[in-house]
């Protein structure tokens, strides 16, 4: 059977489902192909931070745009995905880290990102549960966290309601372009469209290579742990300079924390958290929140994201194939960006342009 569409979307993570939604809302016929279930990889297993603070300056315009969408998610997709503006508290554990926090303030100011520096005495007074290792912090009142498991499915449902054709358990087995349009084969059908969105996460690299523009994307599996429910005390989403630990508590009481990498096997695909990394994360988490000592960790997990060498994604048009657009390699921090990625891609497709500067994300920036 043959299906003709305006846009084919390969990959059902946050980026792909968001693209399907925005395209469908503007009347484009799109088909999303996801070989597993939507949000089954990086988009569903990440930490859940909805954070602008700390981003590479190039990402901030996208993050600002995404933050605006997060704020009206219920109107857009019928659920808030448990998004809560808890604030993001980025911590320094020594003077060098504190200096980095201060240095970032210039970036934040340039992008209208409100940040508040908090010194040693004030931070321990404001958050008495913080460990003595913490010497300072930068508080982003506009940031927060959400439930990563809910976003992609909610986006996909809204996209379907808007007319998008969402196909789960449908692997793309062959992709080709004949000069005018793309053909994507699956087990039972052929899909044709003049536009193809490569939003396949880590595997976006394989698709890019298939179209003659390989990029150095590596698998990234964030090692995550969660405790049993505990009395709710930690309101802000916690991060640190350098990012080797991050921690937040949900209203139900569980503390989610992570840091370091699990084991990735993208060929299967499969990923496993690693015990050494998990135990090391505990040490780092205890430095931030000593009262976690003795709390029971009940589960650890990970998934597969794609990491670029410069830790920012590939976003933008193909350099080899007309009608091909890429958005992958979100390097461990794509969750917050997802709602805006789809909007940006839909603008590129339907308007031929977008306001968000995409030059830093060009796919050919790695060419020797």
């Amino acid at each position: 059977m043959t299906v003709h569409a305006d846009v084919l979307i390969v990959g059902g993570g946050g980026a792909g489902c968001s693209a399907a939604l925005h395209l469908a809302l503007r009347g484009a016929r799109c088909v999303l192909l996801e070989r597993g279930l939507v949000g089954g990889q990086a988009s569903g297993v990440n930490y859940g931070g909805v954070r602008q603070q700390g981003r590479h300056p190039a990402e901030l315009p996208i993050a600002r745009r995404a933050r605006e969408l997060w704020g009206r998610l219920p109107a857009l997709i019928g659920t808030d995905c448990e998004f809560e503006v808890t604030g993001h508290l980025k911590l320094a554990r020594n003077p060098a880290e504190e200096a980095e926090l201060i240095a970032y303030r210039d970036v934040a100011t340039a992008h209208d990102l409100p940040l508040r520096m908090i010194g040693r005495n004030a931070i321990h007074e404001a958050y008495p549960w913080l460990g003595s290792a913490v010497v300072a912090g930068s508080f982003a009142p506009d940031d927060g966290a959400a439930n990563p498991r809910l976003l992609a499915p909610a986006l996909a449902r809204a996209a379907r309601a808007a007319g998008a054709d969402i196909r789960e358990s449908t692997a793309a087995t062959a992709l080709a372009h004949d000069g005018a349009r793309f053909t994507v084969e699956t087990a039972g059908e052929s899909f044709h469209a003049p536009v193809l969105l490569n939003v396949a996460g880590f595997w976006g690299g394989e698709i890019a290579a298939a179209f003659g523009e390989p990029v150095p994307v590596s698998p990234l599996s964030p090692n995550m742990l969660v405790t049993e429910p505990m009395p709710y005390v930690i309101e802000p989403n916690l991060g640190v300079v350098g990012g080797n630990v991050y921690l937040r508590q949900i209203r139900r009481g569980n503390v989610i924390f992570g840091g370091g990498r699990g084991e990735s096997d993208p060929g299967r695909p499969a990923a496993r958290p690693l015990p050494d990394v998990s135990l090391a994360s505990m040490n780092l988490a205890l430095e931030l929140v000593p009262h976690l000592a003795g709390a029971q960790v009940i589960r650890s997990w990970t998934g597969i994201d794609g990491e670029m060498p410069d830790h920012i994604p590939v976003i933008g048009p193909s350099r080899t194939t007309p009608g091909l657009l890429h958005a992958f390699g979100f390097s461990g921090h794509g969750f917050q960006l997802a709602p805006a990625i789809g909007a940006i891609l839909s603008e590129l497709v339907l308007d031929g342009r977008t306001d968000v500067p995409l030059e830093p994300f060009r796919i050919d920036r790695f060419a020797a």
Partner: protein, 90 residues
């Protein structure tokens, strides 16, 4: 109390406290037995507020975690009572 001691009652008594109140049980009791010999539940569910009194007695269901001062979180059914333990029910 619901829990009935049918056998092995000639064991030395052990004094402990439960939620700050003095209590006694027998040497060889797990915390689960000791608590249920003195009270009718070991904790309350965080989510439905209902009292819980363990379920599987064999360390599988994880429904009997309590707090022991100085020893942190302990699974009541697989932890043995020690003299002067101070158990606090969550």
């Amino acid at each position: 109390m619901r829990l009935q001691r049918l056998a092995e009652t000639a064991r030395p008594a052990i004094a402990f406290t439960l939620d700050g109140q003095p209590a006694t049980a027998l040497a060889g009791d797990t915390l689960l037995t000791a608590i249920l010999a003195n009270a009718d539940h070991v904790r309350r569910s965080e989510f439905d507020g209902g009292n819980r009194a363990g379920f599987c007695w064999m360390g599988a269901c994880q429904d009997c975690w309590v707090n022991v001062e100085g020893a942190g979180r302990q699974r009541a059914c697989t932890t043995y009572l020690q003299p002067d333990m101070r158990i606090v029910r969550p």
